[in-house]
Structure formats: C-alpha cells, structure tokens
C-alpha cells in the first residue's frame, strides 16, 4: 500500500488556499441529496455536524452518551491557542506553526500544522459569536495567558472550564441544526463496526445502549470524531467511557493506524492514592503560569512543605530550563518529575509526587488573584485530596492524558478507507510526538468548523454513490458479526469482572509502555497482553442480558478492543528505536537526559495495517519532510 498524504505543492502559506480552490464544490441545491454520518459529538464531531448541516447536507449524528453535551471535550480546562497577537508580544501564524512542529519533536506534518495555525484565529471569532464567555480584561477585550512550549501569551480561556464553554458553543450550533431538522441525533448508541460497500465507507453499525438492539445507519460518507484511547492504561485523565472501539474497529476494517505509541503523559495530575482509584484528575497546565514546581534537595525530608526553607528546595525545571522554566512542554516536565521521584526525591505518602507551589504568587498578588483564575481547580483538588492548596503546595504527578496517535489521515482528513474521515483526537495528524497545551481544542474545532466542510464536499462531488440501505449484505454481515461477538462475550460466564482485566492490562501498559520504555519492557508487554487477552475471552463475566441497558457489556466491548490496541502500541514503540516527544526509550537519550531522535531512520509516520488478531501487523511509512522548521535537538534551556 502506498500512502498518499495529498499535501499540496507550493509555499506553505499558500497551500491551503490553493488546495481549497482546487477542491470540487457541490451546488447548494444538491447538497441536500447527501447524507453524512458523524460519530461522536465532542468538539470535532459537534462542530462538523453543525457546519455540514448549515451547508445543506443531511447529518446523522451518533453518541454513546445520553446527550451530546457530555462528550469528554467538556473536561478540557486550560484554554485554546490562537495567534491573534492581541498581547503584542510577537506572535504570528508562523510562530504558532513553528512552536507546534518543534513541540511535537519534529514528527508532525508541516503542511497540516501550518493550516491549523492559519485557521485557529477564526475559531476564536466563531466561538465569541456563539456567545462563549471567554475571560475578558476590564476594557472589554479578550484576555490571554501562557501555556507550555511557548514564550508568548496566545491562550484564550474561560476560567478553568474552557472545554466546557467551547463544547457548549459547538453543541448549541448543533442543536440549532437539530431544530432546523438537518441534524438527526441518535444518543446512547455506540458505534461498533464500520460498513464498507464497494470500497467506500457507507455507514456504521451500533449497539443501542438502552435496549441492546443492533442498528445500522447509512450515509454517503462517515466521519469518526470519537476521541482518543488513553483509557487503554486503565488510569488516565480521560472520562470513564472514553474508548478506542470506533477507531479500532475501523482499523480492523482496513483503516491504517498512525503512530499508536505516541501517548501524552501530562505532568500536573493529582497523584494516585490507592488501588480503588478509577481515574486520575488533571490540574490544568495553566497552573504552571503561577505555580512553581519543586522537590526537596535531600531524600526523605520529613518536614512539611511549608517548613522547608528555600535553600533546601530544588526548583528543578527553573534550574534545568532557565528560559522556559516551569513552562517547558508536557513531555519534558513529566519526564523530569519521574526522574526526581526515581532518585528518591518524591514527596507525599507514596513518594510519587512533586510539589506545585503557589506561595510566591499568593504573596505577590494575593489569594484573590489565584481564586479568580483557578478557583475551580483548587476546589477540585481539595475535594479529591482533602487538602487546601492555598495553604500548602499541591502534590502532582504525571498521568496519561491524550493520544497523539490515531487513525492515519491524509491532508483532507480522509483515512485509507475512501469516504471515512477522522477528526480531532481520533486522528494522528497535527501534534507529532507531543501535543502542546491548549492545542487539542484548537485542532478539534479546526477540523470540524474549517477543514472538513471543504474536503468532504470534494469527496462527495468526485464519487458516484449507488443507493444502499440496511438490507445490503455488507450491513447485514456487520450486524451479524456484532451480534455474534456480543453473544460470545455474554456466553463466557467466567469468574473475573471486566474491570479486573482492564486493571491488569493497565498495569502492563503503564509499567512497560508508559513514560519510560525500553526494548525489554516492550517485549514483555507484547508477550503479556495476548496472555491477558486470552484469559479475558475465557474467564470474563458479564451479568444481565444483551437485550437491555448493560454497562458491564458496554465496558467488555471496549476492553476487548483495548486488549488488541495495547499490543499494537507496544509493537510501534518497540520498532521506533529513538526517543521523541512523549515516546521516551530509555536506550536513546542525550547525556543530559533529553529525548534523542534519529532523524535519518525515523523521520516518518508509522502507519500500521491490521492483519488479524494474534498476527503481526504490517508497517507502512509516510516520510516526513521538513522544509521550513529544520529538525534540531529541541532546546528549552
């Protein structure tokens, strides 16, 4: 298979404009003859559904939540980037492009990243027009703050709830189209198969989560906006229902999976306290604007944080990276925190934590300043830990947060299955090996509002579609396949719960495929994961029936997929014999502990083709060319 990224020629700042001019159009009266199935209603899915319906397409939208507004985009805290340069501090489209390519450790496509930076300003305009209440200055204009990996303030925010406000904006645009009859919503439906007819994606098969029935939805194109797969680690900052099933099952139908091992471990999360924990909670990166990260200089310092004098503290990020300080990118901050804890300098009961301290800012600007900016985060911290972070520093530790990897897509966001487009976190496209803070919201909305409305039109205009309905053999086969899998799961009737298996998988993933990996640990994972998978299919127990609301069955489908996806992540990590961004191989590091890339051998996107469970997947490579931002050792010193 030859991967064609379809990156347009010409200078980078003209590529998108030229490409748009060459994309075919469909006249307004003809758009209503087409139906697009959109799976997922987060930022990418909701914005795509709304924008396509506004253009005149018929949209069928599906979500496994009870309401589109529950999608996990809602939990994003810190903000959204755009190079508006409202702060007059030297920002530009080119600088955001440069920061993002560099932040991604030179493993993203330049053309995609440039386009992302180009359209990001329009996202802010769009959201303000919808009534999103961004933070403002006293003069009534928009306020900005800084995020990691940047030396300018380009992040727009709505207190610590930016994701919520942006999602409700996209949701409002989508319900407006539901009101107009152009978007048909089917909630509590989980997509569990993709249907391909004559080589083109023509619909999906879902399980109705309320009554268990298996339902098919037909369209002329399919959009997956189903988020990331961080929950493969069991413990992550993802919501409990986040999963990789939609993308994984599309992968099994032929869509290649790009860079599956690129996982973001976020540095500022509330540490794990014990085995009963079901998820981890993020403390927004924006806190690093005003908080200082440190550990005691001496091992086993038993004193309370507030009793440790300045001279006995090591503000290690400020020491190691004087120019970026506490605002180094996430992968760097996470790795350094782990290194400090590995050296025995960690704090708190488990010793797997570092301090994030606000005392200096409180002394300088007052408690009200912190309350106004981050009040909800401090409240959340107190509810979870029972501690008051205004008085003593927060304890934080890295946790799985985001997956840069995802289904491979070309410049049009189309996967290797014609007619199946993938948006937002579900695709692999823009963040390379490490995503910068406040860029996920930007990408999700860029894909949905400003890219897919153009590129999908070209696909629809360029292809002929034979009428298909759910009686077509491809739909019938997919329905039967899903029904058989569900029956098989229900029939195992073993002794262990789905959570038991998910935790066992999560432990292997974290220990062997987590923040630091090496050939030995990865080989161990490739041996262990199939063993857990085999046990799962022999010994899992799912109560109740498949004919009604059954959350254990929902989880079983998701975990069954994680047990295959996790293995692919380990294989990808093993094959990539270099370190880059969030992919840190212990064997490949510089003398001062930074990620050591091998551009000669690994400057490519690894796109994996499914060959069968228990079979070795095939690797395809899309070479990456850097014409503008020349790869160099990233330096934040």
């Amino acid at each position: 298979m030859k991967l064609n990224s379809k990156i347009p020629g010409g200078p980078i700042e003209k590529k998108w404009d030229d490409h748009r001019f060459h994309l075919k159009l469909i006249n307004p009266a003809n758009k209503r003859k087409y139906t697009v199935v959109v799976v997922g209603t987060g930022l990418a899915g909701a914005s795509a559904a709304a924008s396509l319906a506004e253009l005149g397409y018929n949209v069928i939208t599906l979500c496994y939540h009870e309401s589109p507004r529950r999608a996990h985009s809602i939990a994003a805290q810190g903000g959204i980037n755009a190079p508006k340069n409202y702060t007059n501090d030297g920002d530009s489209v080119y600088r955001l492009f440069y920061d993002t390519v560099k932040g991604g450790d030179y493993r993203a496509r330049e053309a995609n990243v440039y386009r992302l930076a180009q359209v990001s300003g329009s996202i802010i305009d769009q959201c303000v027009a919808q009534g999103v209440p961004f933070a403002r200055e006293y003069g009534g204009l928009l306020d900005n703050r800084s995020f990691g990996g940047a030396q300018v303030s380009r992040t727009f925010y709505a207190r610590g709830q930016t994701g919520q406000q942006l999602l409700l904006g996209a949701y409002s645009a989508m319900v407006r189209q539901m009101d107009a009859g152009k978007v048909k919503l089917f909630a509590r439906r989980e997509m569990l198969d993709l249907v391909v007819v004559d080589g083109k994606a023509r619909g999906v098969v879902c399980r109705n989560l309320v009554n268990g029935s298996i339902e098919s939805y037909v369209g002329d194109a399919v959009i997956l906006a189903t988020g990331g797969y961080g929950n493969v680690f069991y413990l992550s900052t993802n919501a409990m229902m986040c999963n990789g099933s939609a993308t994984w099952r599309a992968h099994k139908k032929g869509a290649l999976f790009g860079n599956p091992c690129f996982t973001q471990i976020h540095p500022t999360c509330i540490p794990v306290s014990s085995g009963h924990q079901s998820k981890l909670t993020l403390m927004s990166e924006s806190l690093r604007n005003d908080g200082r990260i440190w550990v005691p200089k001496a091992k086993d310092d038993k004193r309370q944080a507030t009793d440790i004098p300045e001279s006995d503290r090591d503000y290690y990020l400020e020491r190691l990276y004087p120019s970026f300080g506490n605002l180094v990118p996430r992968d760097v901050a996470s790795r350094r925190a782990k290194e400090m804890c590995d050296k025995g300098l960690g704090v708190g009961p488990t010793k797997l934590a570092v301090y994030l301290d606000f005392a200096d800012t409180i002394k300088r600007n007052g408690k009200e300043y912190i309350e106004e900016k981050y009040g909800n985060l401090f409240d959340m911290y107190q509810q979870i830990t029972g501690e008051n972070a205004y008085v003593s520093p927060m304890r934080i530790y890295p946790a799985v947060h985001y997956t840069m990897g995802g289904l491979w897509v070309d410049y049009n966001l189309e996967s290797t299955i014609p007619g199946m487009f993938v948006l937002g976190e579900a695709n692999f496209s823009d963040h390379g090996a490490n995503r910068l803070g406040a860029s996920a919201l930007m990408q999700g909305l860029a894909d949905g509002y400003f890219i897919i409305p153009y590129t999908i039109g070209d696909y629809l205009a360029s292809n002929k579609f034979t009428p298909v309905d759910t009686s077509h053999a491809a739909f019938q086969d997919a329905e039967k396949g899903l029904s058989a899998m569900t029956k098989k799961l229900m029939g195992i009737n073993g002794k262990r719960t789905v959570d038991d298996f998910h935790k066992a998988l999560g432990k292997v993933m974290w220990d062997d495929v987590g923040m630091a990996r090496d050939a030995k640990s990865l080989k161990n994972a490739i041996k262990e994961i199939p063993r857990i998978r085999e046990e799962f299919w022999k010994d899992v127990r799912i109560p109740g029936s498949d004919g009604n609301f059954n959350q254990e069955l929902e989880k079983a489908h998701r975990v069954a997929d994680f047990l295959e996806l996790g293995e692919l992540m380990a294989r990808d990590a093993l094959h990539r014999k270099e370190s880059c961004g969030g992919h840190f191989r212990q064997e490949y590091q510089t003398a001062d502990g930074e990620a050591l890339r091998d551009d000669k051998k690994f400057s490519y996107v690894a796109a994996w083709e499914f060959k069968g469970v228990d079979k070795t997947p095939a690797l395809h490579k899309e070479p990456l060319k850097f014409e503008y931002v020349k790869p160099a050792q990233r330096s934040y010193k």
Partner: protein
C-alpha cells in the same frame, strides 16, 4: 491514612422503565474514606458481578464534576450532602463508619427511569433545541475583539453558562421545575450582546418547550440553587421571568 468503614447501602433497583422498582440493601465492608462515592459503587458492582448478580446501573463519565452525567439522590439530597459538588466529587470521608446511605435516581416525571439509578434527561436537549443558541453560521463572523464586553458582564454570563445540565435542580424541586436550567441559558445569552437579537423568541420558545416536557412551575423555594453543583443563582430565574414578560407583553 484513615481506617476503613462499614456502610449499609439502600439502593433503588428497577429493571427497566416500566418495571416496578424497590430499595435493595447491601452491606459494604472495607470502604476507604479516600474513595469517591462512585468508586465505592464500582467496588460494590465488582462484588455483585463476581457473585453472579447484576451490577447497579448508574450514570457517570468524567468524574471531575464537569460533564453533568452523574446524578443520584443520596440520603434525600441531590448529589449528596456537600454544597456545590456533583456526586462524582463526593468522597466517602463525608460519611461515617456504620452509616446507612439511601441512593435513589432523580425523581421527576420528565426524567423517566431507564434502569436502576439511570434516568432519561433528553428533555433537556429538546429544550436547548428550542432556541438555546445564537443563530450564527460557521464563518463570516466579526473579529473576536470587535465585540467588546465589560468584564463584569462577561463574568456574570459565565456564572450562568457554568451550568452542567445535570438536572439536580429538577430533582430537588417539589414541582420538578426546570426553571434554573432554562434560566441559566436564557440569562447567559440575554446578558451578552451576541444573544440580543433573538432574546424574545428564545425566552418564549424555551419556556414553551419546558412546559411541553412536563416540568412544573417555580414556586420560589430555592431548593434548586441550594442543590446545584455549580451554585447557579436563582437570580437567573428572576431574569428569565423578566425576559419572558418582556417577550410576551412589551
């Protein structure tokens, strides 16, 4: 760390919408005070499944208090005993060893039970569909800073926009009124210049849809504000009333 507790749970079990439900009692040993309430239910469910019984169905997702999916009436209070907190952020340290805890679904006829503690809140989406938006299309909007909004106004709009749509206001209200939910959206958009053009239709249509869904009227007991996990103020209800009267009369 603090020692483990023994809890008795009385949980509403109902097989499906039209089935008859009842409270079932479960004895839960080894509850850690550091567990969240939902993690305690996870533990109970894993025990039930291993014993061959059906797990207790309950809605939840982000477990960070922002998605609005979790619900639960705990000891007669929406989202449990703490103020300004959703059930997912409630921890077992808020209870004592030996406590009996009664757990029920939201009780309101516009929120029919799907199973056990899970209810159908799609009526909220239908209310939003009836004008809970600003009619702008993608593209062709002015520059973000072309619409200056005084900070105080933006902050007030944000306070209303913080609603997570969980339905606690309805569950807490003796009339099952959705006025706090509806007023939060109407207020957000009435305060901002972007929402001004459609403010009349919005107030009228959203209230009409609220009535059509079977939500009751507001009788100013403020139970909604007291139980709202985001502490949305009842002053929004006053604003909704003004908006509605303005739309109907002026």
């Amino acid at each position: 760390m603090s020692s483990s507790m023994k809890i008795t749970l009385k949980v509403w079990r109902q097989a499906e919408k039209n089935a008859r439900g009842r409270l079932m009692t479960y004895s839960v040993p080894d509850v850690s005070p550091d567990m969240s309430f939902l993690e305690m239910l996870d533990m109970v469910n894993n025990t039930l499944v291993r014993k061959g019984e059906d797990a207790i169905a309950f809605d939840h997702d982000c477990r960070e208090g922002i998605c609005g999916t979790c619900s639960l009436y705990i000891n007669g209070r929406a989202h449990g005993p703490l103020k300004g907190v959703a059930t997912c952020q409630l921890h077992m340290r808020s209870f004592s060893d030996g406590d009996t805890i009664v757990v029920e679904p939201w009780r309101a006829s516009p929120f029919p039970v799907i199973k056990d503690l899970v209810v159908d809140r799609s009526s909220f989406d239908r209310i939003m569909q009836a004008g809970g938006y600003v009619s702008v299309r993608t593209g062709g909007v002015p520059d973000a800073n072309a619409i200056p909004i005084p900070k105080a106004v933006a902050d007030e709009a944000f306070d209303a926009a913080a609603c997570i749509g969980c339905g606690a206001c309805v569950a807490a209200c003796k009339n099952s009124s959705a006025m706090l939910f509806v007023s939060a959206k109407v207020s957000q958009l009435a305060l901002l210049p972007q929402g001004n053009a459609e403010r009349r239709q919005r107030a009228e249509r959203m209230v009409a849809q609220m009535d059509a869904e079977g939500f009751g009227s507001c009788s100013n007991t403020y139970a909604c504000e007291a139980e709202c996990p985001k502490e949305i103020s009842v002053s929004n209800i006053a604003r909704l009333n003004r908006e509605f009267i303005r739309a109907k009369v002026l």
